[in-house]
Symmetry: D5
Subunit: 116 residues, 10 copies
Amino acid sequence: MSTQPSKELETFENPKPDRDYEIRFEAPEFTCLCPKTGQPDFATLRIRYVPDERCVELKSLKLYLWSFRDEGHFHEAVANRILDDLVKATRPRKMSLEADFYVRGGIHTVIEAAYP
Amino acid sequence: MSTQPSKELETFENPKPDRDYEIRFEAPEFTCLCPKTGQPDFATLRIRYVPDERCVELKSLKLYLWSFRDEGHFHEAVANRILDDLVKATRPRKMSLEADFYVRGGIHTVIEAAYP
Amino acid sequence: MSTQPSKELETFENPKPDRDYEIRFEAPEFTCLCPKTGQPDFATLRIRYVPDERCVELKSLKLYLWSFRDEGHFHEAVANRILDDLVKATRPRKMSLEADFYVRGGIHTVIEAAYP
Amino acid sequence: MSTQPSKELETFENPKPDRDYEIRFEAPEFTCLCPKTGQPDFATLRIRYVPDERCVELKSLKLYLWSFRDEGHFHEAVANRILDDLVKATRPRKMSLEADFYVRGGIHTVIEAAYP
Amino acid sequence: MSTQPSKELETFENPKPDRDYEIRFEAPEFTCLCPKTGQPDFATLRIRYVPDERCVELKSLKLYLWSFRDEGHFHEAVANRILDDLVKATRPRKMSLEADFYVRGGIHTVIEAAYP
Amino acid sequence: MSTQPSKELETFENPKPDRDYEIRFEAPEFTCLCPKTGQPDFATLRIRYVPDERCVELKSLKLYLWSFRDEGHFHEAVANRILDDLVKATRPRKMSLEADFYVRGGIHTVIEAAYP
Amino acid sequence: MSTQPSKELETFENPKPDRDYEIRFEAPEFTCLCPKTGQPDFATLRIRYVPDERCVELKSLKLYLWSFRDEGHFHEAVANRILDDLVKATRPRKMSLEADFYVRGGIHTVIEAAYP
Amino acid sequence: MSTQPSKELETFENPKPDRDYEIRFEAPEFTCLCPKTGQPDFATLRIRYVPDERCVELKSLKLYLWSFRDEGHFHEAVANRILDDLVKATRPRKMSLEADFYVRGGIHTVIEAAYP
Amino acid sequence: MSTQPSKELETFENPKPDRDYEIRFEAPEFTCLCPKTGQPDFATLRIRYVPDERCVELKSLKLYLWSFRDEGHFHEAVANRILDDLVKATRPRKMSLEADFYVRGGIHTVIEAAYP
Amino acid sequence: MSTQPSKELETFENPKPDRDYEIRFEAPEFTCLCPKTGQPDFATLRIRYVPDERCVELKSLKLYLWSFRDEGHFHEAVANRILDDLVKATRPRKMSLEADFYVRGGIHTVIEAAYP
């Protein structure tokens, strides 16, 4: 596996597909750019999912999140985009994502989306 | 967009209208006046909503909250008023507002209202 | 309105009677006497209610709580009494009260009652 | 009432039997002995109940908990025993007990039981 | 009972089999190895179960957890494995396990599984 | 010893007068009245002292603090008064008192005084 | 005393001038305007002083802080200004002020100044 | 070494006598009896010392603290007694002890003593 | 002032040069790259200084910190570099910087440097 | 650099040798064995040092701490040993180490040592 930022999420076989169990990640090192001003945005991402046949590989997830570093994304759009990418890559039984952004204009914003 | 306080809330198109997802704001910089005494009141506002076709624009929300600075409002009334204004501007699938006021008379007051 | 302790709770018209919304008070300055020993008891009261036609006036609530200062009341009885008085004064859609007493005999006691 | 440890729990008449309300106690000063090694065990007990006709008297509860000080009891058994004794003494509408023991062997144990 | 690491979980008779009650363990001293790199992993395990006829013996649980110290296990697999072993040894009415791993690659991972 | 509020502080002989050691009390149940408005004030008192020949008796301290319940005192004066009374009663090597009052007018006040 | 915002700080006679003791205020309800943009700024002020002959009156302090509500002030300047005004009004033995401003541009700013 | 409560503190040779370093213990499981009422008291003990030639053995310390379980001791006396015993057993370069007792009469007491 | 990342730190005249007072910034949104692996690093920076003739302008500080986003820097070097740049730009009476980096390899690193 | 546990600590040249600055590490993943019982011990290590000519390399530090995993060490000895090894490898201007061990026998132990 490379160590370059990449939108390609790698997965591995779920070691316990006959049980509904939950995997949770907290990733406080997410950053992208504001599409209007070009200024950096920062967020902590919290992901929870019940895997079906595939689990997301941890290092691959790190490289995937890194890949947003130089891209412009709106808060609401990027949270839904990451959820969609993770759903597409792992086809989970269910998944949710919480994107907890740093204060802008004196207001703290959190976006929470779920599949299905 | 101007940078003057304004009751006009601007919105933008929901980038993911086919999913029910939640947007949460915490705004600790709300102040208005007591209609009886004219003295300042302070609150932290917590807003959560599931957008339908429109999302509220963050800077516009800041200017909207600022617009209460020199107005007199009772606790119970202003919390319901802000919820109503936000509902009218965004027509959300659902929305709630929590207004957490500073201590007055040794008592800490919170108002929580929801739509629908 | 006087500034003497008083069991008379004043109310005002609910500014938003067509919505079920919640008002919460936290009052950490409640004290009464133990009816057996005459010694002071202290509690934090937490009140939540959904108003119907009337809301309780904040200063009046402060004076009402003050009125217990020189009276003897058992923990279980005073919590239910305050809830009853507030229900009678405001006729809320629902209301609950939590009385969180300071440690006595190495034991920390909380009473929680609800209407209806 | 004596101030000696005693398994006799005293009760008093519920001042508000027509309402389901909850009484909660937190008692951080519980200690008994390990029946295998004779070494002391320590726990914080958290009791919640909805009284029916009788409430447990606070000082009596303190003396009751003290009565375990020199007795050997297993964690699982003593938690259920105390719940049973309190249920028998007060005949509550419902009751639960959480016994939160100090770390043993690097493991922190909590037992939680409920009636009915 | 030996004091060597062992996959053999010892149990004892449930002292209160006629009641559904919960036993919770928090074990912050779990470590095993990464099967890919051989490097140590660390986790806090949180186990909750409702015993049926047998309870797991605390010291035996400690030795069982110790037995993973020199073994390679993936996060998702080891959490399910420990749950399976505990279910097999105690045949509980229900059980859940949360494995809360230390940060790797800037991401904090928790696995939570339940039986049945 | 009586169980009535009393300004008479009882003391006992310091069991270790040949060592400078510190005794600290935290008393969250202090209340007196505002001399201007007659309304109740509340504070947590924190006392630290190095005893010389006499230590203050704990129950006597409780009754002493209770004795302020129906008296009017300004914040700055009552903190210094209590320190003076305790110094006079125990003649300590050193002593300090912190009176941490509840919020009034949106402002939280603490008075800290020391002897000598 | 009026209840209008006012730069006139009222004082009263120090009840214990023969002792160096400290008075601390925490005032979380300070707001003024940014002189460049006109937008509101918010801060918590923490004041500590050792009074000499005069103490600052609490309600007067509240009205004084309120008087900045519609004025433009830079962070560094307003913190020093308030300290200077308080020093001038009370001539304390020593005084310090900490102004803890809300996040702007992703950066949290605190100014701390002391006299002498 | 026995596993019975014992006032005999065992020690071992300091592995690094040429360096001044500190050893800290926090023991939350201390209990003794009130000499006046016979009722149990509970405390958390915090011990810090710089060893000279001998260090106190951890299990022996546990048995030593256990030995107070059925003895009557005043707060101030027992804290100084334990410090004295530990100083006598280990002859440290310096040592301090903090005994943090549970609330009695609404007052939380801490005793802190140091050698030399 | 531009809104592009820039190493040029802007300053303004200290409004109170005749007083030694402290300005503190906490900036949780710092990120640069690891010079060995090219992977992103994240840190919270805490800066404290006593200004002499010039203060650092807040927006300029934000743009300055942003300018490290695409540059490779070792932890120890970048902390000292930022301190040096800030010292050079403002010529403070004294200044310190704490760079609190996210966990790498299971280890949390903080660098703290001061001038002079 | 290998990724095997190793007592060989690698260092690199201090990038700012003309300044006394501090580097702090917190490593919560330390484990070794009890030399008496062979059972695992766990600790969080906190290291602070002012480098002279050499800094310790972070990955090398991780491998060094890992190297204790299968070795028996007493608490007091291992804390001093690690400090000695780090001092020998980096020749710092000053260094301290705090080893914060998990609860054993109901007692929480911390060892803190410093050089010089």
